[in-house]
Every structure is written in structure tokens, then in C-alpha cells.
Amino acid sequence: MLAALVVAASPSAEAEQPRLLVITTSPDLKSLVEAVGGDRVEVESLGRPEQDPHSIEPKPAQLVRVKQAAMLVKVGLDHEPWLARLPAVSASVVDASTAVPLLQTETPRLRAERRVHSHAYGNTHYWLDPKNAWPVTTSILAALAALSPADKTTFEANRQAFLTQLEARLAAWETTLAPYRGARIVVIHDSWSYFAERFGLKIVAAAEPNPGVPPSPGELAALLGRLRDSDVRVLVADPHSDPSLVRQIAGKSGVKAVTLLPSGRDYIALFEENVQRLSQALKSGQ
């Protein structure tokens, strides 16, 4: 009788339980936390998809929310240098990169050459490989389950449902891009390595050897010379890319420029959009 009462009472007790406030540094991570946390979490992102993730300036209201949060999820590595300036947080901090197999990890700490990659611990744009949603959501699941052990089963079920849906879509994206496997592309900024690796594309050069610093005439001339003489047909730009540089490269080499989105509010929709844009560009560039 008593046990029945407890069981009967527990749903209403759960319903009254406040939702966990989770802060993420990027909208992509927000989407992934929502996928795992479902109704049990309230998630806010400090950054927006259109913002440069390296230079976000949090507002006072966001700082208050960070202080109230139970959990903070970050991309990690050295992707968010501004995060170090935030006041100390009491929330549990999840570094989403922990379990991710990183690319370009040989990025040197000691390299003698002038051109060093801007990220010292490997390429940080790992969420652009949909398969990395598996390790990222594993980290998120573990942290959420530690904060709310009673909801662990719900979180696991949510995660599984999301990954099942993602797996189905990933198969469709791979099918869409299958005709272009092995295609060589040029990027403006070196943020598409994970995406290219997943879909079998080969990035042969980045127009900005140091992100944000325009190429020198020598570098631009070398790139244009290589491009004219190659089978590369597509140039991938970011929304932040310098439009005049994109126009110059596309105009002088005849490649098709396409702008892909490095970040989005809905993780699956982000890939839907990028795969569609890229397949159209590759098709028209053939």
C-alpha cells in the first residue's frame, strides 16, 4: 500500500522538480544537450550561430545565468579563449572534446615554421563531423546523469532516440555526397577538416593560412596558379569569410564558391543545409 503510494506520488514530484539549467558556449552544443536532456533541462547558449566563436563577449544577464547554471558545456581545447575571463563558476564544467577523436593533433607546440595553426591542441571544429555527436553526447549524458541520477534512464533513452535519427540522416547525407567522394576542395578557413573527412572530400589548401589574416600576394598567386591547373572545382567559404577574397579566388580561377554554415541552432538541420549546399555546388562545378 505504502509502496503504491510512493509510486503514485513520484510522477507529480518529478513534475514539480525544477529543470536543470545548462549553459553551452555554442548553439550546436545546446542542440545536443537538449537532445539528451529533453524536458528535464533548460539550455541556453552564450554564442549565436552567426557569431565568431573565438570572440564572444558575454552580457551581464548571461553572466547571471552562468552563475545559476548547474552545468556548463564547452567546445574545449582552445576554441573559447574568452571563457577564461568569466568569473569562477560553481557549475560542473563539461569539456565536450574529451572523448572526441581529434584531427591535426600533431599541430605543434614547437614548430619552427612561421605558419602555425591557430589552435594549439588540434582542430577544434569537431562537431562538424556528425559521428562526433556520439562521443559528445556520451560526455553530456554522463554529466547530466551525475547531476540528476533519477533521470539517467530518461537521458539514455533520449540520447538513443536522437542518435538513431541522426544515424538515419547521416546515411542519407552520405548517399547524397557519395558521387563526389574523393573530390578535392579548397577552403578559406581550416574549419572543415572533420566534415571533409566524414564525407570523403579532400581539402587541398586553405586560402587564409592564418585564419583572419589575409593571404600575401605570393600565397594568393601560388593558390591561383595551383587552382587553374587542377581538378578543384569548389571553394568553401564561411559566413565570416572576406567576400572580396572569395570573389577574387572564384573569379580568377573559375571555381564555384559555396558558403557553408559552421554552426546552427538545430544540429541535424545544420547538416541538412550544408549537405544540400555542397552537393549543389559540387554538381554545378562538375
Partner: protein, 414 residues
């Protein structure tokens, strides 16, 4: 080289043409920072245009920027008759700071524009198109003709404002700043704020040092502007540098060279000795006190005269140094060769199976790290030499410097 740098050079000539003229006026009016201020107001206009939904490179965005710059120009013109109560430079500074802050606030609501505004302020002269240069040339020619026709009142307003009634002065100031706002808004789109500032101020200021008379200064300024542009573009090509900052640096180098020539002409034997003694004393004291800090003057000397370094190493250290330098030279040659091969593989010029290509990539990364390790060995040896140079070079240098200073000061006292 010509294919990529021809149009940036022509753009530089067009910018020189109009900006040296305006620069002479701006210097006479003592409003050096008006250009930066109006450029920032124009950037605020662009930010508002972006918020209103216009792409940053659209015509609408340009007219927004121009309208804002005109408003800023009128404000600056209105202040001039009240210079006694409120300094024009103060207003220019306030306009700059407030516009920059408002720009940030506006872009916070339309963040996708922030990077484009940054790029716009930084400038992209390398990627300027012939059409952009043609448009600029036509616009600046028209402005030049207007100023030529109205030269008398415009010149009086800049160079002899005291001879003009207040009402007329306000009218001609408004015309001057309005045309200047149009020039700044248009130039910044192509060359960026820093470069436009250099075109405006550096040749005009240098011409002021070299010759007298408006026309002579204008002609000298044009030549200096053209030479600095050419120097910056060539340096950008030769040393593999981003073009806009390289041209700005060329303007800075021209200015520094001129300052050095002027300083040397004014130096007497005694002041040269004082200067040299002072430098020797400071360098010696720093080497003595902080031998492990960066000593670029000693690095440069050691590069030119290696025995200055090796004399402070033991025999075994010298052998290690020789071995390491050989290793670095060998690695550099090998890395250059293999990098070219890797590029050819990447671009499909050379066939290589993917496993071998990956091995090549990893080998390059590893070799590069090893080479960096060798560089650390040289650094370590340099540190050891510094500890010994501390007393054998630093102390005598300090003593010579102090003696030189003391001797010169004593001569003066006598």
C-alpha cells in the same frame, strides 16, 4: 606578380592623388584624426544598414555609411567657430569613441555583420577590382574638379580662416568636410581605415618637412605616396606579407627614415657621443642584470659575427652547435623538398596511395618537431653563452658607456 599587384598599385595612386590634397588641408586645420573619426562614423552607418537588412557590400549600405559620415562631417564643421569654448580635436575624439561603441551595440543585434565590418576597417587592397578602381578614380576626379573651381574660398577656409566671416566659414567648412566624408567613405571600402589614414597624413606631413608652398607640397606628397605604395607592395610580394599592413608599414618606414635623417642632421659630435654612450650603458646594464632576456642587438651581432658567440662556448658545446646547425640545414632542405611533394600529392599532380600520403604527412609533422627541437638546443647554447657574456661583454660595455657619459658631461661642466 604584375597580375596581382597592378590594380592595388593603381588603387594606391588614385588614393594618393586625392588624400595628399586633403591631407594638406587637414594638417593646416590641425584635425589629424578627423579621418579616423569619420571612418568610424561611416562604419556605424554600415552597421545600421546591416541591421536594416542590407548586405554589407550593397549600394544601400554604402549610402547609409555616406549619410552617417556626412552627419559626422557637419558636426565637426559646426564646432569650428566655437573652438574657444570647445576644442575641435576633442569633438573629433568623442565622435570616434561614441561611434565605435554605438557600432558594437548595433552589431550586437545583427552579429553576422561584425566580421565584415572588421574586414572593411582592416581593408583588402590586394583584392581590389579594376571596376572599383575606375569608380574611385571617376569620383575623385569629380571632387578634384569641384575643389579646383572653388579653390580660393576652400583654401582660405583651411589656411586663413581668420580672414573669413563666421557664416561663410561655416558654409565652406561644411562643403570641405562633406566632400572629405565622401572620400573617406569610398576609400575605406577599398583600403581600410589604417591605410587611408596613412595616405592622408604621411605624404602630406613629409612634404611639409621637405618643401614649402601648397603646390610643391602636393607634388612631393604625390611622389612620396606613390613611392611608399610601390615599396609596400614589393615588400609584400618579396617577404610574403599581407598587403594592406605591408603598405602601412612602408609609410611608417618612410616616416621613420625621414625622422632619422632629420635627427642625424641635427646631431653634433658631442650629442652623438652622448647618445652612443647612453645606449652602450643601457645595453651593458641589461646584459649584466638579465642575461637570459632577449638581447636582439647581440643576436644580430652574433649572426653577422659567429665567433662572438662561439668564443663563449666550450669545445664540446661548439661541436654540439655545429652538429645541430648541420642537422637544421639538412632538415630544412628535406622539409622543403618533401613539402613540395606533399603539395603535389594533395593537388593530384603526383599519384600516391592514401596510406603512403598519410605516412608522408606524419613524417613531415614529426620532422618539423625534431627540427624545432634542434632550434631549442641552439637556444640552450645561446643561454649558456649569455651567462658568460654577462661579465665579459656586459660589464665592459656598461663601464665604457658610463665612462663616455661621464667624460662628455665633464667636458660640458668644464
Amino acid at each position: 606578380m604584375t597580375e596581382l599587384l597592378l590594380w592595388p598599385f593603381v588603387a594606391g595612386l588614385v588614393l594618393t592623388g586625392i588624400h595628399v590634397y586633403f591631407g594638406l588641408h587637414v594638417l593646416a586645420r590641425k584635425v589629424v584624426f578627423v579621418d579616423l573619426s569619420l571612418a568610424q562614423v561611416a562604419a556605424l552607418g554600415l552597421a545600421v544598414a546591416i541591421l536594416a537588412g542590407h548586405p554589407v557590400q550593397s549600394e544601400a549600405a554604402y549610402w547609409y555609411a555616406f549619410a552617417f559620415a556626412i552627419a559626422g562631417a557637419v558636426l565637426v564643421a559646426l564646432v569650428r567657430p566655437h573652438e574657444g569654448a570647445l576644442q575641435q580635436e576633442a569633438v573629433i575624439g568623442i565622435v570616434y569613441a561614441v561611434s565605435a561603441a554605438l557600432g558594437v551595440l548595433v552589431l550586437d543585434r545583427a552579429p553576422q555583420g561584425a566580421d565584415h565590418i572588421k574586414q572593411l576597417l582592416a581593408g583588402t587592397i590586394l583584392t581590389v577590382t579594376p571596376q572599383e578602381v575606375g569608380n574611385l578614380a571617376a569620383l575623385y576626379a569629380a571632387i578634384g574638379v569641384v575643389h579646383l573651381l572653388l579653390r580660393r574660398p576652400v583654401m582660405r577656409a583651411s589656411f586663413h580662416p581668420q580672414d573669413m566671416p563666421h557664416g561663410l566659414l561655416l558654409l565652406w567648412d561644411a562643403l570641405f568636410y562633406a566632400s572629405f566624408a565622401l572620400v573617406v567613405t569610398s576609400s575605406v571600402r577599398v583600403a581600410g581605415v589604417l591605410l587611408v589614414f596613412c595616405y592622408l597624413i604621411v605624404p602630406a606631413a613629409l612634404a611639409g618637412l621637405l618643401v614649402t608652398g601648397f603646390v610643391a607640397r602636393l607634388l612631393s606628397g604625390w611622389m612620396l605616396g606613390a613611392a611608399s605604395t610601390a615599396g609596400g607592395l614589393v615588400a609584400s610580394w618579396a617577404w610574403d606579407l599581407p598587403t594592406g599592413p605591408a603598405v602601412v608599414a612602408a609609410f611608417g618606414a618612410t616616416m621613420a627614415l625621414a625622422a632619422l635623417v632629420f635627427a642625424i642632421r641635427r646631431l653634433t659630435l658631442r650629442s652623438s657621443a652622448l647618445l652612443a654612450s647612453g645606449i652602450a650603458a643601457i645595453a651593458g646594464a641589461l646584459l649584466l642584470a638579465f642575461p637570459q632576456m632577449d638581447q636582439p642587438w647581440l643576436d644580430a651581432l652574433e649572426t653577422a659575427l659567429p665567433p662572438l658567440h662561439t668564443a663563449f662556448l666550450s669545445e664540446s658545446e661548439r661541436a654540439t652547435r655545429d652538429e645541430t646547425m648541420q642537422s637544421i640545414t639538412g632538415a630544412r632542405e628535406e622539409l622543403t623538398r618533401l613539402r613540395a611533394l606533399e603539395q603535389d600529392v594533395r593537388w593530384n599532380k603526383v599519384e600516391m596511395d592514401s596510406e603512403k600520403a598519410e605516412r608522408l604527412r606524419q613524417y613531415l609533422a614529426g620532422k618539423s618537431e625534431l627540427s624545432a627541437g634542434d632550434a631549442l638546443v641552439l637556444r640552450h647554447l645561446r643561454g649558456k653563452a649569455r651567462e658568460r657574456q654577462r661579465y665579459l661583454v656586459g660589464l665592459p660595455l656598461l663601464a665604457i658607456g658610463i665612462w663616455g657619459l661621464w667624460a662628455q658631461l665633464r667636458r660640458r661642466a668644464v
